[in-house]
Symmetry: D2
Subunit: 141 residues, 4 copies
């Protein structure tokens, strides 16, 4: 039996997205949970992800948040693109930290959606809050 | 004659920051211009920077913007940290595109500053607008 | 016995702020709950608050969110000022609607704080999400 | 000759919007310039617009910015609705100050647009920067 057929639809879509997502693979991003409008992803901070202050570059936390947003928003089967995103950096992220991002759907209309992504470290400290607005196209996955 | 003494103060600070900034180096980020409150940086999109749609991951554009913001804000010699940032993705970014980010100072108070970063491609198309709010510490570079 | 002495510290501060806050009084804003880092305020949409589409002007929802943020952030007794705020408008707000805004503290550092304010209508529909970053001064209330 | 026919299309649309916009009229908002994708509006801060610090409530500056955004975005003749907006408050606004908001179009796609609104006072000091993302419907004005 084909393993692909055991996966539900959101899992199939996200597998397809992640397979081709070279940068999320560079992040060694793991999808920990996925369902319609919801996604949890995680990655571990490596030395090549640090900035001039010796802590994780803000772009790493953002990138994890952005992929998690994309997966939550695309999980329904319509291609969706982030149009506006914001992130507040709240707590230092160090090399070796495990970042866990949880995207929840705040709103899903016909054309646009809004998602909050909370990003915690392995000690359950909130390191960043991310908000994303997506445009929902009619193009199917 | 020591080359370091030929550099002005903002250039010295940014060199020091960039030298240790592993992720900006992974981006192969070039500093094209730097003075107090102003910075231009650029990088070229490689295949490992693409997402599941085959275009540049939003995190790449964000990361370029975030480093450019950091350099503009730190150029005065006081360590500054971004606390809130937002980015609007306006135009697809493809492999091979050259992204040029220009940070300008909108406001600089005693404790906080606000910067706009416009990100264009090699065809002078605006691909993203980024806004960053920084906290200005008393810690010298 | 003076009623003021029965009030706890956050209530005293917010009463002092609201008393002088002419615009929040124009909104006929009611404080429904207040404690350190947390506040709930509400107001009812009147015809003079509508925009050219015949629905509540985005500035009304924003203003309610901004006051609720200010009260939550100032409740500890140090004057705090919003430096960056964003709002996503999710659902139409009509004349006669009762808007209830709940501010929760996401982060409170020494100098800055971040708050989420969710704004619902009387039917518990989420009409807007607001995020605010504040600068915390040393000036006491 | 009918004066309406002397007005160009953006002026006609904005007149129609402003006529019904009760809250912008409460602000005594003046449209100083309007063309496709561009608008300048102004208003003067009255005592009933102040907050608990005795300065203009953040909601006043936001509201002026939001109307100016709406006019710039609707000027093409398709009804457009702001979905995400942010504002950075940079400088105190006092009673009697004249606020002038200038909206410029950063991007206009088929479905969404992005606008920057700079808000200055009568001394040409930048008091706030506002960014708005709008959804462009097919509904004509």
């Amino acid at each position: 039996m084909d393993r692909l057929h055991e996966l539900n639809r959101p899992q199939q879509i996200i597998n397809k997205m992640l397979e081709k997502d070279a940068f999320s693979n560079w992040l060694k991003l793991d999808v920990e949970d996925i369902k319609e409008g919801y996604c949890v992803c995680a990655c571990t901070v490596r030395d090549e992800m640090l900035n001039g202050f010796g802590i994780a570059h803000g772009g790493i936390t953002y990138s994890l948040g952005d992929t998690t947003l994309a997966f939550a928003a695309n999980s329904y089967g319509k291609q969706s693109f982030s149009i506006e995103t914001s992130i507040s950096h709240l707590h230092k992220v160090n090399e070796g930290d495990r970042l866990i991002a949880s995207a929840i759907e705040i709103h899903r209309g016909k054309k646009t959606g809004v998602y909050h992504v909370n990003i915690h470290n392995q000690n359950k400290e909130l390191v960043a809050v991310f908000k994303g607005t997506v445009y929902i196209s009619k193009i199917p996955w």
